[in-house]
Amino acid sequence: MLKLFPRVTLGLCCLGLISAAHAEIDVNDLVKESEKVAYYSGDDGRSDARMMIVDSQGRKQMRQFTILRKDVTDNGDQQMMVFFSRPSDVKDTVFRVEKHASLDQDDDRWLYLPALDLVKRISAGDKRTSFVGSHFFYEDVSGRAITEDSFVLEQETDTQYILKATPKKPDSVEFDYYRVSIDKTSKLPVLIDFFKGENDNYRRVEAVQIEEIQGFPTVVRSKVSDLTSGAYTLMEFRNISYDIGLDSDVFSERSLRNPPRQWLD
């Protein structure tokens, strides 16, 4: 367990001396809470999403899709389906993921290609590769397991905790460390800067706009930037709802070929 401060065990008499703002922070509890808020709000959810991918020459691509998600357990396994509607060459393509939180088990992934009526199973891949051509990695969308990194609290401001995360398996990722700012109120990670070497900040993921939806703080606009080339991707969500009662049967081969329309419109 990584902690910034050793646990204070001074007894009841001393509690009054410790102001709330300076209370001890258990970093592991914090990142776990942050992971839950960022990826596990409610028991399930749906959202429309669209991305604008802008390359270093300013050329733009759009992706539009609907995401359905169901948690098997909080901070654990998840079921996910992504139904693409735009652009026209990926229209009706469906991506299905059975996310496994355990580091020993890769996610199961399938892709449905409507023109061939083909359900293609996808072998486990490097999770730090582009998600459908965007600057978001597959891992940014499905969530990087917090057990992959060691966290240290570097700084605490009035509104944020700033943590430095170092990968436990440095060979498996392209970064040497990242710095994540977690909003104190919502516990959402609002800024993540990735570094190579000592100080080369080459990649940034940021929450641009946050709204509270059904009591869950929710990132409705986020941006990822390739700080080296100037390319970036914007992602925007809308029609978000949580706890809609998605049955696990929805997350199946049936929905690849015949999407569950009641949850998509």
């Binding site: 735009r86 026209s88 061939l116 009526d117 582009s130």
Partner: protein, 424 residues
């Protein structure tokens, strides 16, 4: 004062501007969607085919029109191609999909367990990569060889597909009332080897009228997924999908076929493994002694796929086709010197690489037959840096030792092609 305001608001405008992505597509009020593309494609033979005068192996202008109409719990879809085929100098229309698809909930008792798709449609199942054992749905080998997009490898059929979903097992039943053969190599695009003639021919034949089977085709799949492993059982009742039989008057025809099979697909280590088996029961030649009808066969497939390094995926398949009653086949064959080996083996290799933020995709696929000493290499590159267009280029290369073997008979069909597709 106003200047201060203006300066203060500038970054806000800039921010808003960046997020101006235009309208969200598919607003809730809209029940229908129209999409499609225009494509121009050209392909050239690498070497001459003395039997076919044209050097052009692909030359077309194509427009695809897709129209989807969403009903409350189902969908009507139309997907049709109109194209001018410069190789044959013909204008053609292919309806790839004209179907209703939906759940049978509220229509029949227990309807929530059933989906139906009825109409013209493309159908696929099985675990192979470019290798089909239990998938007896129509394929278009002319398109595959000529370098059309992969989607054209599967041809449509007018079928009804009923799917049932239960805790015990899921089931698909497909009925195709009118037999729909593959778009086989018939000599109008590419010549082929005729064992009867003992030479390469390009007759451009069509099997029509009385020689077309008049019974429906039935296909069945039972499937279930248990802890990440996908199991399936298959059955098919119909006909050989290519006219590889001869009538008594030595005309190409389709003979009766039943297929039974099974498959599984699961993760293994860092990759995926698939295995599939099919028994081809050639019902008009039970003992394998009719030289005009193909013998029964057992077909086996094992495949493995894995990401090798970031963005590069490799896969291998081993495929075995074992002919039953082989000695009867040879004893009765009209051309025993051209018969395939008792065990025909294919090894396939695929490398797939995505580069430049996935705007460039490179694919190399090779079939190699160790028993026939021949093979078929397919190379393809797709480049699409924007949503509006995609440029593709590729090579289809057939090679081998003997002129009559499965792949090498198409040696003169080897070609290079270029395609440009504009999406609307």
């Amino acid at each position: 004062m106003s200047l201060t305001l203006f300066i203060l608001s500038m970054p806000i405008f800039a921010q808003d501007d960046e997020w101006d992505m235009g309208d969200w597509e598919e607003e809730t009020t809209q029940d229908y969607r129209i999409s499609g593309f225009f494509e121009v494609a050209a392909g050239l033979r690498i070497s001459d085919d003395p039997l076919i005068s044209k050097d052009m192996s692909l030359g077309e202008l194509r427009a695809q029109f897709q129209f989807d109409y969403d009903l409350s719990a189902s969908r009507l879809s139309l997907n049709a191609d109109a194209y001018y085929d410069g190789v044959l100098d013909q204008t053609k229309i292919q309806v790839r999909e004209a179907a209703w698809q939906g759940s049978l909930a509220n229509i029949i008792p227990f309807g929530e367990h059933f989906d139906l798709k009825i109409g013209q449609q493309v159908l696929t199942w099985g675990t192979g990569d470019y290798v089909f054992l239990n998938d007896l749905f129509p394929k278009d080998f002319q398109s595959f060889f000529a370098g059309r997009d992969d989607e054209y490898l599967k041809a449509p059929s007018l079928s009804a597909k009923l799917s049932g979903f239960f805790d015990l097992v899921n089931i698909d039943v497909v009925i195709t009332p009118e037999f729909t053969p593959d778009n086989y190599i018939n000599g109008d695009y590419f010549s082929f080897f005729s064992p009867v003639a003992g030479q390469q021919v390009a007759p451009g034949f069509d099997v029509a009228g009385e020689r077309l089977p008049d019974s429906p085709e039935y296909a069945l799949r039972l499937f279930k997924s248990v802890q990440g492993t996908e199991y399936a059982l298959y059955a098919y009742d119909g006909y050989h999908k290519t006219p590889n039989s001869l009538s008594e008057t030595f005309l190409p025809s389709f003979s009766k076929l039943r297929v039974y099979g099974a498959s599984l697909r699961t993760t293994l280590g860092k990759g995926l493994v698939n295995a599939e088996y099919a028994y081809y029961d050639s019902r008009e030649d039970k003992n394998g002694n009719d030289p005009l009808i193909p013998n029964s066969q057992s077909r086996w497939l094992i495949g493995y796929e894995q990401e090798l390094v970031k963005n590069l995926t490799g896969s291998l398949q081993w495929y075995l086709e074992r002919t039953e009653d082989y000695s009867s086949l040879i004893d009765n064959s009209l051309a025993p010197e051209y018969e395939v080996a008792r065990s025909r083996v294919w090894l396939t290799q695929r490398l797939s690489y995505r580069a430049m933020q996935q705007t460039l995709t490179l694919n190399a696929f090779n079939f190699y037959s160790s028993s026939d000493g021949d093979g078929y290499l397919k190379l393809n590159a797709d480049y699409s840096p924007v949503d509006e267009w995609r440029l593709s280029a590729g090579l289809n290369f057939f090679y081998g030792d003997e002129p009559w073997t499965f792949f090498n008979q198409f040696e003169d069909a080897s070609n290079m092609y270029l395609r440009f597709r504009y999406f609307y």
